[in-house]
Symmetry: C2
Subunit: 203 residues, 2 copies
């Protein structure tokens, strides 16, 4: 086990950072957590938090969009993990409802990240890692729906469930489900769960 570049830098006060890429992503995530709005996330601010010059990020990302895409990828990985945990918390339809609650709770807990994940505009085409991460998250929902409905309807039902949950998450994040729902992920998830149970999944 050799010491990491970052450790060496801290010990020796070296010129090179060593793990700038990961540090910048972490900095971006923390900016999103504080600001709640992807517009507040700037390259220079991220570099500042990483303790590095304004141009340093360009050695690791071709432009700002690339950093945003990398951060969004982390977001989808986190969402994927949250959905898997929730799915294991119940059986049958309850697992589906739990996924929905987890989805909305995730969005409300990290609104800035959620908005970035789905607002990634100018990213054309989206990096492979991003589509892979979002696809993996989608697969968790698709698998659960496939276990509940006939195979012929699985694709449509998955899309419909996703749209329903995503809509609730988007509305909650934008404060249109009430102020307390946006502020408290627990409250938002509870509301989402109640509405989800109104939704009669055809067996």
């Amino acid at each position: 086990m050799s010491t990491s570049k970052a450790e060496r830098r801290q010990l020796k006060g070296g010129y090179h950072h060593g793990e700038l890429r990961e540090t910048l992503i972490a900095a971006g995530l923390s900016i999103l957590e504080e600001g709640g709005d992807p517009a507040t996330l700037g390259l220079r601010e991220a570099a500042r938090r990483a303790g590095v010059s304004a141009m340093a990020p360009y050695r690791h990302f071709p432009d700002k969009e690339a950093l945003l895409a990398a951060i969004a990828t982390v977001g989808f990985e986190r969402l994927h993990a949250a959905l898997e945990v929730a799915d294991r918390a119940g059986e049958g339809r309850e697992a589906l409802y739990a996924q929905g609650e987890a989805y909305v709770a995730f969005a409300c807990a990290q609104p800035g990240l959620f908005r970035l994940m789905f607002g990634a505009r100018s990213c054309e085409p989206r990096p492979d890692s991003l589509v892979a991460a979002s696809g993996a998250a989608y697969a968790v929902l698709a698998a659960r729906v496939a276990a509940l409905v006939p195979a012929a309807r699985a694709a449509d039902e998955t899309l419909r469930s996703w749209a329903l949950v995503h809509g609730m998450a988007a509305l909650a994040v934008d404060g249109l489900l009430g102020e307390e729902a946006r502020a408290d992920p627990q409250v938002a998830a509870a509301l989402a769960g109640r509405l989800l149970r109104l939704d009669p999944v055809p067996g």
Copy 2:
């Protein structure tokens, strides 16, 4: 009928614009139509299109957010009108489905405007005219749902329907329902209509 200020200006080459406020909102709308992304909408660019200096907008809007809110307001007015037209196109549940299709078609036809309407972040508190316009649009959906379900469930069912349709619109706008759905409002509306009909509204 006296000539408008703008007409007088055009005739006399006057100093004052005369209808800058409306012109700026129109300029903002055209920017959104071209760019598709609210981030491309800048105060200076709007002023440029209005043929006016960069600072002139501040005589009509306290800051950028105020202009954005005014643009979002006309967006909600347009959405409101589209929903009313759609609602009259059918009877019972078909009217509800038509509203949903119109909602998604609106979002896909004007993705930038749609994103602005629901992404209006730092607007705290939202101007009265904006909440009035969005409330009026919501009322069209609420009225139709109220005519379809028992009164005790009307509020929840309205919210659920809205979330479902809004989710489909958001996913379509962000290109997650397929490329052709995002590009062609007709295709997106058709897909939304198909999914909506899978949704068994409890009578």
